[in-house]
Symmetry: C2
Subunit: 390 residues, 2 copies
């Protein structure tokens, strides 16, 4: 079990109607609020009105229209509003995109240069505005961690960054706010939560048993409820368990003692940056290919454990058979949620950029993706090729 530091100072208010706590939480910080959100969905489902009601004692400035893969421009726009209006607190209402964008704005409000500087080198973040979030999509876990992902469309670069200054002070998680999320976005969210868990669960540390078991608990939660929410969007139990799973999958809990070994995320971020594909859908496509690609004698025991513990496969079968069945089950599960498994299905029109994207994926990690198994340029090319569905 490796040494670790665990620190998650986010106050979570979870459950139906918890928006009623927003007023006191915000006004205990300040009066001048920048409200950050995405498209019109928060207005359509009534969350916007509930938030505005809670902010009736505040001076509210707005930055709407944040993209699903939030762009540098939104960060710059938000920072300008903060600087010009003495914003006390940034309130993100939405999914991970809005919260990620708001995190970057919180840092940019105290940064004088181009925000892309600190996205590339997060040590430049010395201070940030306080952030509060109201979550409307279970996926990225941004509501309970200190990281964000921002896209620079000009350079086709999509980067993750983090800082101890970027934890939300408070996040309000009302599962009913996710009832109206489309089937595709819901399913993509489930794939994202599972991917965050896989990126930690698949590691070579043998002795972080408790963290490993908690990761298994999250994976079982996604599998138990993934199809339920797909079929019954208003199922509170399913929405609630998935929402809580989204937060716990990536706040550091399951990497205590074993670290993280991200593989699929860097390969996916490039797809999103090039083709604006939905992040979770990209992960659902890539993950089973990555699993298949790295399955060998050195990884078979871990995949067999995954098959037995998560999928309940008969432990008396040969490990390689269990492993292959587990990977097939993973792919079939994503398929049952109508998630894509090929470039064609996900809307990537051709593969002319494939090698360029592979290069960018490894470059984003310093030349090699040091995941559960090291991935060089050619490995990424090979995994992308597997997505051509031949």
């Amino acid at each position: 079990m490796n040494n670790f530091t665990y620190y998650v100072p986010v106050r979570i208010h979870f459950g139906k109607g918890e928006i009623s706590k927003l007023h006191d939480e915000i006004t205990s910080i300040g009066k001048n609020v920048l409200l950050v959100y995405g498209g019109g969905s928060i207005k359509r489902i009534g969350v916007y009105d509930q938030v505005i009601e809670q902010l009736k004692d505040c001076n509210v400035f707005e930055l709407g229209g944040v993209d699903p893969n939030p762009r540098l421009k939104s960060v710059e726009d938000g920072a300008l509003i903060c600087k010009e209006n003495h914003i006390d607190v940034v309130l993100a209402v939405g999914g991970g995109s809005s919260i990620d964008c708001a995190k970057a704005i919180c840092a940019a409000a105290y940064y004088d240069g181009n925000p892309w500087d600190f996205i590339v080198d997060s040590s430049l973040i010395k201070k940030a505005l306080p952030l509060v979030s109201v979550l409307t999509l279970s996926a990225t876990g941004s509501e309970m961690d200190n990281t964000a992902v921002i896209t620079n469309p000009q350079t086709k670069d999509k980067r993750g960054f983090g800082s101890r200054h970027l934890f939300p002070k408070v996040s309000i998680l009302d599962p009913t706010y996710t009832y109206s999320v489309s089937k595709y976005q819901t399913a993509s969210g489930v794939a994202d939560i599972m991917s965050h868990t896989f990126e930690t669960y698949f590691n070579d540390t043998k002795d972080a048993y408790l963290s490993n078991e908690i990761a298994i608990s999250i994976l079982k939660t996604c599998i138990k409820y993934g199809k339920v929410v797909y079929d019954e969007p208003d199922n509170y139990e399913a929405r609630a368990n998935l929402m809580w799973a989204s937060s716990l999958a990536i706040n550091g809990l399951i990497s205590c003692g074993c670290g993280k070994s991200w593989s699929c995320h860097p390969m996916e971020h490039v797809l999103s940056a090039y083709y604006d594909v939905t992040h979770g859908a990209g992960l659902a496509m890539l993950t089973p290919k990555w699993m298949t690609y790295i399955l060998d004698d050195s990884t078979v025991d871990k995949f067999a454990e995954y098959g037995i513990e998560v999928w309940g496969i008969d432990a008396s079968l040969p490990p390689m058979e269990i492993a292959k069945t587990a990977i097939a089950n993973t792919e079939a599960f994503f398929h049952s949620l109508d998630l894509p498994s090929t470039f064609e299905e996900i809307g990537i029109p051709d593969t002319s950029t494939l090698e360029e994207m592979a290069q960018m994926a490894v470059d984003s990690k310093g030349g090699t993706i040091k995941g559960y198994r090291k991935l060089e340029f050619q490995d990424v090319v090979n995994i992308y090729h597997m997505c051509q569905g031949k």
Copy 2:
């Protein structure tokens, strides 16, 4: 899934050698330190010297000799030192007793009356000194929560209390510090961790699936490693997993969405207050009796789930048979750690105080213990009677 607030703003530094972070953590708060500890064990194992080395830039005041069931007198003594010496930060080094005592001191430093007032009514705690802890015993979880238990020997009252002001700012968890803990204290610690988990796991909420699964993970961790540490005190993997389990069992994580329903703790606190028995040992004695006492048609499914998920009992057996086997396994597990199962074994000399203790147990909870199953005075008497080993 019930609404909940989850907030654990404790920075955990976990692993061998993490004491090296103490200097910076303490001095970032202040120079005047009250060091709180128990008997001589921290000197014997060298932790005291390591701590003093880290505090070389500080003015250190000491309160040693905190009892295993920390007493009101220690709290008063500590508060006096804080008030007279402008203490900036209280540093507890030890197990739950030292940390609990330190929490009460942190609150008492800002309280003008008798500390017992706020132990009975924690709303009186408006402010507290910052607390840092260095853990040397895996058991109570006090290192990562905001509660404490203090004994008033004059009234034979042992009370738990909590406040949002009482989270440690930082806790340092080095599993090697627990290598020299005696077999009896180690085993009692395992029983305490399991009891904290049982007191949450056994509830009537059906839909908090993820929290339930995480509770199961903690129980499996205790069972997997309990006998290992008993036989191999220097086993790092086992000590580390149990230490982390102790923190996660009671910091609110597993009660998210299902709440707590404490039953055995109030029954045990009275035993400790009357006879100074080791808390975890008392819990190990009481728990299987309590389980047996409340097992009926309304609880059998939960106990069967416990048997299948935690003990791996064949799910095709009749639920009542699974439940009874699970309870028997629990008792056998505690027995394998040489924990007591009767009043005689635990050192309670006679049962003349039995009804008096039962009355105090229910009185401490307002007349009824509202646990997984409600326990009235007579129920507690009956459960105590089961500990007579007849």
